[in-house]
């Protein structure tokens, strides 16, 4: 056993010395680096959330509600010897130094926090997240205004205090005392406020409390635990996640292409070697054993090097995203290491299988006849097995996502088309050869004489250029989507929580300052609870049950004319006669996700009361328009009996910024959201993500370029032989160079045409279907 390994190692070292495994090794390292870097980072992120779940949540079990928590729940928790604290959370705008900033206000009872050191927060004092101070040029002791009250900054929030929502927060947090809330005059009936009861204590007692409270939860109430935290994080990383998947897939593709090209050359160069071994008496089994062991060694070496490089790269990612991460990342687990070795082994065996399947069967007579008489049926079985294995692996790496399915299908189709196009190109060249002469004829003949090499190179070059184009196009689309949709007068502020009593005055206020508002819409918060008389979770398909819209309060509105960017796709518009009727208009994607149809009876719970309405139309909504939009719209007057607030959006130029201060001062209950700064911060996060991924991709591009050069050089073996003969026959250097130029020009033109065409189609479909 050991002697076989020794033989494999000594042969491998000699081949490496001659530079024969370098391309394969480099391609494998690159694929492993990309995959493990991303996996290390996401693994650490997930572990960070798991490990700090209690701290992140602020308790072992949290009850979240959009209405105040009943006292009896607190008493029950106390009777189970659980520690409890109350938190009230809502988004608000604070003002300081004539500047406004959107913040997440967290008002806490004196028992808060349940873990770690008490905050010792004084009356009308706040603790702010470290990011807030430089944003508003604030220092400790300065005053900020929240609603109608002024607060002194007592200090910074300790870094290890709970995050209460997700690991990725856009707006900075401000912590204040719960008993200071009335002074702000911000919280009104119907306001978008989240009440939380934090509990902590013995695990059994926590579970007992969970068992007791769960059956009592209403539609607007939920229990938060580690699982829900994870979901939050994943949904906020959704786009980045898909982009990462795309990069991984293309990296595997590029590295695989490089390995395939290199393997081809490897096989051609090794026929004679293997024939000689066989001639000298090496049995087929021994040759297979040597190659198999060499594969394992190469896979292990590439795995180890790639994992190390991946670890270093993820440290770089950590520094890029450090600003947005609110907790230190713990060390990674063993999963990425396992994944790294699996990737290198599987990629090598799948892409390089011909070395094991073809080479050992080389006849010793190859030394005399230079032909192989290999039986192809076994190789075909091998191709099918490896292809299935590889596709399953890629599909698994990409979490069995729609994106993976789409890309894999597209690539298989593209390869199929390329095969057909290649046949057409060759037949076209055959015709061109007949009517051409000189170096053009020679250059074109090179394709016809080596159709297999030409076909493989054309396919490989096209796929790689296509991948780069798709990735670039999706990235630009992702980042540009938001920016291009914003004309100069696009609303950059949202005002909500406008009470019905203040509405006319607020409108007057806008009119006075000649600020055009988009429109003002009533807003009621409620949940979908039933469909055609059945509880909603039972009435819809299983895969739709985890839909976010079913597990939170939705903002619903009532109006006759929908916002301008809404279009009816099924059903009809309402008219005056429909006022007050229990009908409902549903956003298109929500309807399709929940499998809702026109005529379905949808049940809602609004402020503790139930309401059933018939779906009368389905609308498409442009969520990127920055105008107020709603999943669910009722006809006017249908929601009159429920507490409602109003929402609007408007555009303010920089010179009009004092208007906001006056508005907030005059109407303290109004919440203003500065969309421009939120958008800017989201774009910042996305662009950082994109640039991080771009760095990853740049590495891949450089590698691809290097691999291409190497592959081109490898195909030069055949060309060199032909041109050497031509030289002997008297061809001039100029003739040979111009023939090469003709050959590569054709290859380049075909590659560019095919890759641009495929990239255009696939990226447009990708953006339309996936992103």
């Amino acid at each position: 056993m050991l002697k076989e390994w020794r033989l494999a190692v000594s042969f491998l070292l000699r081949e490496c010395r001659a530079g024969q495994w370098l391309i394969v090794l480099f391609a494998l390292i690159l694929a492993v680096t990309t995959i493990t870097a991303i996996d290390f980072f996401t693994d650490r992120l997930a572990r960070g959330i798991d490990q700090q779940s209690a701290h992140l949540l602020g308790g072992d079990l949290i009850v979240s509600s959009s209405s105040p928590i009943p006292d009896s729940w607190r008493q029950k928790a106390a009777s189970l010897h659980l520690r409890t604290a109350d938190v009230l959370m809502y988004p608000s705008v604070i003002s300081a130094n004539n500047q406004l900033q959107l913040v997440n206000v967290q008002a806490v009872s004196k028992e808060y926090p349940l873990f770690g050191k008490k905050t010792d927060l004084k009356k009308l004092n706040v603790l702010t997240e470290f990011r807030l101070m430089p944003l508003l040029s604030l220092h400790q002791g300065d005053n900020i205004t929240i609603g109608a009250a002024s607060f002194a900054i007592q200090g910074e929030l300790p870094g290890d205090i709970d995050m209460t929502n997700t690991g990725w927060a856009i707006a900075p947090r401000v912590l204040m005392r719960l008993d200071d809330i009335p002074a702000t005059q911000v919280v009104l009936p119907g306001s978008r406020v989240n009440y939380r009861l934090l509990t902590a204590g013995d695990k059994k007692q926590v579970e007992a409390f969970r068992g007791w409270v769960k059956p009592q939860l209403k539609a607007d109430q939920s229990i938060l635990d580690v699982a829900s935290q994870r979901e939050n994080l994943l949904s906020s990383l959704q786009y980045a996640d898909k982009y990462i998947q795309l990069i991984i897939l293309f990296c595997i593709l590029m590295c695989g292409t490089a390995i395939t090209l290199s393997v081809r050359q490897h096989i051609h160069r090794h026929y004679e070697d293997v024939a000689l071994w066989r001639c000298l008496g090496a049995p087929q089994k021994q040759v297979t054993g040597v190659f198999f062991r060499q594969f394992l060694i190469v896979a292990f070496a590439a795995g180890a090097a790639g994992i190390t490089a991946g670890y270093i790269l993820q440290l770089f990612l950590e520094t890029i995203f450090g600003f947005y991460l609110q907790f230190p990342l713990p060390p990674s687990g063993p999963t990425p290491i396992f994944l790294g070795f699996l990737t290198s082994t599987l990629l090598l065996f799948c892409y390089a299988y011909p070395i094991i399947s073809v080479l050992p069967r080389t006849s010793p007579l190859f030394l005399w006849r230079s032909t192989t008489s290999l039986k192809h049926y076994r190789q075909n079985t091998f191709i099918i097995i490896t292809l299935v294995l590889l596709l399953t692996y890629v599909y698994w790496i990409m979490d069995f996502s729609l994106l993976a399915l789409f890309i894999l299908d597209s690539l298989l189709l593209a390869i199929g088309f390329l095969y057909v196009l290649n046949i057409f190109s060759l037949s076209l060249m055959r015709k061109l050869v007949r009517i051409s002469n000189g170096s053009i004829r020679r250059g074109l003949s090179q394709f016809i004489q080596h159709p297999e090499t030409a076909g493989i190179q054309l396919t490989a070059f096209t796929l790689i250029l296509m991948s780069l184009l798709i990735l670039g196009s999706v990235k630009n689309n992702l980042l540009g989507k938001w920016e291009t949709k914003l004309p100069p007068n696009t609303p950059n502020y949202f005002a909500f929580n406008i009470s019905p009593y203040d509405m006319n005055e607020v409108l007057q206020y806008f009119k006075q300052d000649k600020i055009t508002i988009d429109n003002i819409y009533p807003m009621v918060r409620g949940r979908i609870v039933s469909l055609n008389g059945k509880p909603i979770l039972q009435a819809i398909p299983e895969e739709a049950r985890r839909h976010n819209a079913l597990h939170r309060d939705l903002n619903m509105s009532s109006m006759l004319n929908y916002p301008a960017d809404n279009k009816i796709v099924r059903g009809s518009y309402w008219n005056e006669a429909d006022k007050g009727k229990l009908m409902v208009s549903i956003e298109k994607n929500l309807a399709s996700d929940l499998n809702l149809k026109i005529g379905d009876k949808l049940g809602f719970q609004i402020g503790g009361e139930n309401l059933t309405a018939v779906i009368s139309n389905i609308r498409s909504v442009d969520w990127g328009s920055f105008h107020p939009n709603f999943y669910i719209i009722f006809p006017p007057e249908a929601l009159n009996k429920y507490p409602e607030t109003y929402i609007t959006s408007f555009h303010l130029s920089q010179s009009q910024s004092t208007f906001l201060n006056q508005l907030v001062h005059e109407f303290p209950s109004i919440t203003i959201i500065d969309i421009a700064s939120v958008l800017k911060q989201i774009q910042g996060l996305l662009s950082k993500t994109a640039s991080a991924l771009q760095y990853l991709f740049m590495v891949a591009i450089m590698a691809a370029a290097l691999i291409f050069v190497a592959s081109l050089l490898s195909s030069m073996d055949e060309r060199r032989e032909t041109y050497r003969l031509l030289r002997v026959l008297g061809a001039s250097r100029r003739y040979i160079v111009s023939s090469l130029i003709v050959e590569f020009s054709f290859l380049t033109i075909l590659t560019i045409c095919f890759s641009f065409a495929f990239a255009k189609i696939i990226s447009q479909l990708l953006v339309k279907i996936i992103f």
Partner: protein, 197 residues
Amino acid sequence: MNIKTGETVAIVGASGSGKTTLLSILAGLDLPTSGEVYFDQQPLHQLGEEERAKLRAKNVGFIFQSFQLLPTLTALENVMLPLEIQYVPPKQARTEASEWLKRVGLGARLHHYPKRLSGGEQQRVAIARAFVNKRKIIFSDEMTGNLDVQTGRLVTDILFSLNQEFQTTLVLVTHDERLSSRCEKRYVLNEGILQSC
């Protein structure tokens, strides 16, 4: 055709007469469509490819017209190859291979790659490789075909002197009259008929 231990046999004939095919059948590389071949009383024509490979590994050496040295290996490593295939420990393989290279006059060129050796030197490496395992029988296919007359003679001298020393059986396929005349037995292959002369 009967070849005894230690004999030197030449097979001559026109191009395309089937000399190389005959050699590959005798060496157990190929199977005859009809007829029988025995090596040490073992019926080669009845053995499978793997059994014939085992037999070659122990008993058969080859010298080719185009040398067939692996370009990525040094002269020493090329000679070590047959030993390594038989799992001879590396140290022993290295010592044996370097001794054989010294015997063929290449003691100073152990670590040279084939492309840095002349045609004659490459063929001497091939001779060392053929003898290294103390093979019973060595098949040579046009071994002087790629060499000039003087070098060819030098290489032939080495081959025959080693043959004398180790009593190896030599089967040579050649066009070279001078080379065939040095063999104890000569056969001519003409239109599929093998005749002793």
